[in-house]
């Protein structure tokens, strides 16, 4: 009974967090991408002095402002959820996240109070140069603001630059630079922000394609498409490059996630990358069933991706769960044993401190230190619990990669045809252009699903599972707030879409 209630609570808390994060992530990538596109458009206006570029800039800036206004502060709810639903986790990471989140808050506040105001109030009130400078500062500042959130997320995926303080029951930062420049944090920042540039570009192409289909604002639409498809193409290629880096860091730091998103159950040398595949739904860890109903593999590519070496061995889910002595891989079963020792010694340390037995406390702490890297595994009941939901992770990853490849083609074709002034007759392509925004959102959200579902069951990789990170509260209250947020977010989303569509219908000013 206790077990069922606990799992139900964790799952509702997870669902609530996923709902909030995915809603928040509708607005953030558009802000990141559109802010730079506005800066590009305005730079061309300032350089050429042509009125049509000014009109065009103000139009996209208006849509950027709508997106920003509806999206602003939705991320704060995530912080509330930490304190209410994930209080143990929140306490344990408070010292690590305090600095990055405080910097994020300060950057956002000063940015919004100064440059944002100039960007929207400053037309004809400040010089062209200062206005352009403000627009660039908003773009750079918004993206830097994202850095600190992604550094915090990167730390959860690869906890580094910290030490566990058993007297305060929390992780404490030992080296800020290790946290900031951790390979996972850098990979997260570059991959995530560039995916935002891609989505912003798709937004501009989508709206512009609609104008061309309707035969409205044709000159503005074509000008916008040229800039957006160029930026989008470069961003999409960079997303591919950073995605490769993200997969490499996953292979090194979170091999279970890599095995899950590739559906790799048995480790292989010269492992192939699944280009297309359908997973066998009843496949479980340790069984001998074929993991795929159907698959097409590219030989050797997964080994190259994971280890930068085509013939190398890539561990599968079974290797990571049950261990592989030949390859020197410790399984989750062995890690659970060590994790339980870590918890036992932590309990012994606590008790020794309570009764004032310093020698016993030091002895327990030494034993704890020897096993603390496996602390989180001690809370698992079975090694199979270390496996994330494979199907969700696998399909999300492959949807993201397939769409990312499609976007490269879309940007390239739009760029070439618009430069040759042949885009207007391409009705099917323009329809794809309109649709591409929705595909972009699917790819963008799928990326987060891979990152977050793929690292389950961990709130902090290997150190704290979600079952221990949660607060022991009534599941009914989490359900209530879940549906409350669902209604609030739906209303806000309808408001966003409604206002956005109205402004798109109105079109650029002066027309």
């Amino acid at each position: 009974m206790l077990e069922q209630t606990g799992l139900e609570l964790v799952n509702w808390a997870r669902a609530q967090f996923a709902l909030t994060a995915m809603f928040h992530w509708i607005f953030v990538p558009l802000t990141l991408g559109l802010s730079f596109l506005c800066a590009f458009f305005e730079s061309i206006y300032v350089k050429t002095g042509k009125e049509e570029w000014r009109r065009l800039t103000r139009f996209w800036m208006r849509l950027f402002g709508i997106n920003f206004a509806i999206g602003v502060a939705t991320g704060i709810i995530l912080e509330f959820e930490f304190g209410t639903n994930w209080s143990n986790y929140s306490w344990m990471v408070g010292d690590i996240f305090g600095a990055p989140l405080a910097i994020e808050g300060l950057v956002a506040f000063f940015l919004e109070a100064t440059f944002f105001a100039v960007m929207f109030f400053g037309w004809d009130r400040v010089s062209k140069g200062f206005h352009l400078f403000s627009t660039w500062m908003v773009a750079i500042g918004s993206n830097l603001s994202a850095l600190w959130i992604l550094v915090a997320n990167g730390w959860m995926q690869f906890p580094t630059g910290m030490a566990f303080n058993p007297d305060k029951a929390r992780f404490e930062m030992q080296n800020f630079w290790d946290v900031l420049f951790s390979p996972v944090a850098i990979s997260k920042f570059t991959h995530t922000t560039s995916s935002g540039f891609l989505l912003g570009s798709l937004f501009v192409i989508s709206v512009s394609s609609w104008y061309l289909l309707k035969g409205r604002h044709r000159d503005m639409a074509k000008k916008s498409i040229v800039v957006a498809s160029m930026f989008g193409l470069l961003s999409a290629l960079f997303v591919g490059f950073t995605g490769d880096e993200a997969a490499y860091t996953d292979a090194q730091k979170q091999p279970m996630k890599l095995a899950a998103f590739e559906g790799l159950w048995k480790g292989q040398e010269n492992a192939g990358l699944v280009a297309v595949g359908v997973l066998a739904p009843d496949k479980r860890p340790g069984d001998d069933k074929d993991p795929f109903v159907f698959e097409i593999r590219i030989p050797g590519l997964l080994s190259l991706l994971a280890n930068r070496s085509p013939g190398s061995f890539v561990p599968g889910i079974d290797d990571l769960v049950y261990g592989n002595k030949d390859r020197g891989i410790m399984g989750a079963n062995e890690k659970i044993t060590r994790g339980k020792i870590a918890i036992e010694q932590l309990a012994a340390y606590k008790k020794a401190r309570e009764i004032g037995d310093q020698a016993a406390a030091e002895g327990a702490l030494q034993e704890f230190d020897a096993h603390k890297a496996y602390l989180g595994f001690g809370y698992l009941d079975s090694p199979e619990q270390a496996v994330p939901p494979v199907a969700v992770t696998f399909y999300s990853f492959h949807a993201m990669v397939a769409l990312g490849t499609l976007f490269i083609l879309i940007f390239f074709i739009f760029l070439v045809l618009t430069m040759k002034d042949k885009i207007e007759g391409q009705r099917a392509l323009l329809l794809l252009g309109v649709l591409s925004l929705f595909l972009g959102f699917i790819a963008s959200e799928a990326g987060w699903v891979v990152a977050e579902v793929g690292r389950q069951p961990w709130a902090i990789q290997d150190l704290l599972p979600v079952t221990v990170a949660r607060t022991d509260i009534n599941v009914g209250s989490v359900k209530t707030t879940f549906f409350m947020f669902l209604v609030t977010f739906t209303v806000l989303f309808i408001a966003e879409v409604g206002i956005m569509l109205k402004q798109i219908q109105i079109g650029p000013e002066g027309k």
């Binding site: 206790l2 077990e3 069922q4 606990g6 799992l7 208006r62 402002g65 709508i66 206004a69 509806i70 602003v72 502060a73 704060i76 709810i77 509330f80 959820e81 304190g83 209410t84 209080s87 143990n88 929140s90 306490w91 344990m92 105001a117 929207f120 109030f121 400053g122 009130r125 400040v126 010089s127 058993p166 007297d167 305060k168 029951a169 929390r170 339980k340 918890i343 036992e344 932590l346 309990a347 606590k350 001690g378 809370y379 698992l380 009941d381 704290l464 079952t467 221990v468 607060t471 509260i473 209250s477 209530t480 707030t481 409350m484 947020f485 609030t488 806000l492 408001a495 206002i499 402004q503």
Partner: protein, 80 residues
Amino acid sequence: MSLSPRKIMDFYVNGFRSMTLGKTLWKIILIKLIIIFAVIKFFFMPDYLHTRFNTDTERAQHVMNVITRAHGPGGKNLIP
């Protein structure tokens, strides 16, 4: 352009006055902030450790109890 406090104030006041679409957006932002802070935060999403405990020592003790309690007799996990 000299940046006197008066001019900065005028810049913001005139900016807010001349808003059209911005007025609607500000209304949405204000309603949203009221819902988030005055309703959601206040009534539904309290900070568990801050409402239950008065000091950081108590909070640390509580979390320590949770993370060590998980290892029950014979290695049986008490937390699912």
